[in-house]
Subunit: 235 residues, 2 copies
DNA sequence: ACAGGCGAAACTTTATACAATCTACGCCCA
DNA sequence: TGGGCGTAGATTGTATAAAGTTTCGCCTGT
């Protein structure tokens, strides 16, 4: 009965049909199978999931609230296309929140959690080894979500889910082609710091990890009119 | 055309009927006219606003995502009843985010903004003087939102809107009866620091303001079974 | 008198039908 | 030939109706 205190959206209710649609579309976006600007027609999605437009519409509205879908009046829903300004805001927010989250995660460390983290690292390495880019990008985001779940802070978790989803779109749009091969495995280092219960190190590792991700981006300023025009036309 | 870059939910579209319902219910909750646990029937609200249940449902779902309404499957929507644990999370998040927000606000300081802040302080004082508790509690929240708007950081603004709305419910539920009369006007002090462009002071004032608000709360632990039972029955 | 179960009413959930709006294609005219 | 206008098709916004679930009252049996 104690659990009944908050029966809201904590349990995503996998059996719920709206949730299934939402998670399906979310996964497609996070795995970079749906590109920014893609039209998400209601009938189209409804037919895919065997649901009426009512349910599809509900799911799309939730995604719009999470910031990964834009709904334009009388025009429909589209995969969001974050601007460079959005990107800077997202990463600033992550730099603020995630060190605190990992701090809480250290407090919550326990053998089961260590196991989950280790297993996750393994999955990430396997995806990387077999060159599965889609799984890689998805798992990379899920790592951060996992730490937020571990922190037990449901509000931070909710915020971070949003930030992670947007980050995925941002990386897809603005990642430099000349990625420096990312020699070190930051996630493993973060897990190590958590295992050692070393908050200082965990925060530092998380922060430098986020900085490195953002450093790999090329956030062109609105000065370059030509590129912006291409952007707009690309829709 | 530059503004068209983000035509999403930035403009609340006052003419939009869903937004009108959402803002109406939100205002009622923020002004403590709707108490936690109150049933929000779809027919009931629909009749009030002259809208069909379709629109009401959309609005309620948005409010649920903002955390001030709980939707229980096949039972309907209710004004949320934050637990003490929720309350602690909300205020921890505010202590983390709002100092940073006020930091940005100092960067964005300008005569028009100063005017808006001053005018807001006046409104707060007037409401206080005429003993209008409802307006007071609403304006108190709007002050924080105003600073977030001033910061120009749309993501922080979105997060803070959620936190403010939940805070309002929390204060209603857990505020001590023996409030220490709140001698000093923290909001005025924050505005002063912003005018002086003193980030250090602005952050400090904001932080101590939040601490003082939380200190006025009595967040009873789940140990007191009797009180929890009363809580549940109170629904 | 009280516990248990049946049934009806109220409400939410889902689907479908209708109205409004936008997009696109084609035609006409300069 | 190029541009503008108008109509047709498609898509979204809204309302309403059908289906499913819960809740409450009443009735019966012990």
């Amino acid at each position: 009965m104690a659990a009944k205190t908050r029966p809201k959206s904590d349990t995503p209710d996998v059996s719920d049909r709206v949730s299934r649609i939402r998670e399906g579309v979310t996964a497609a976006i996070l795995e970079h199978r749906l590109l920014p600007g893609t039209k998400l027609g209601e009938d189209e999605i409804g037919e895919i999931y065997g649901a009426s437009r009512t349910l599809v519409r509900t799911a799309l509205q939730q995604l719009a609230h999470e910031g990964i879908v834009n709904i334009e009046k009388n025009r429909g829903a589209f995969v969001a296309r974050p601007t460079p300004a959005d990107a800077r805001e997202v990463f600033e927010a992550r730099r603020l929140i995630e060190p605190t989250i990992v701090d809480h995660a250290v407090d919550a460390v326990s053998p089961p959690w260590i196991n989950r983290l280790q297993q996750h690292l393994t999955e990430e390495r396997e995806a990387e080894l077999r060159g599965d880019a889609r799984a890689s990008v998805r798992l990379s985001g899920e790592f951060h979500r996992l730490i937020a779940e571990m922190s037990g802070h449901s509000i931070y978790l909710g915020f971070l889910k949003e930030l992670i989803a947007r980050s995925s779109l941002i990386i897809l749009l603005y990642r430099r082609h000349d990625t420096p091969a990312c020699g070190t495995d930051h996630h493993a280092e973060i897990v190590t710091a958590i295992r050692k219960r070393d908050k200082q190190a965990a925060r530092a590792q998380m922060l430098s990890h986020l900085n490195e991700i953002e450093a790999e981006l090329f956030l062109k300023d609105p000065a370059a009119d030509e590129l912006r025009l291409a952007d707009v036309l690309g829709a």
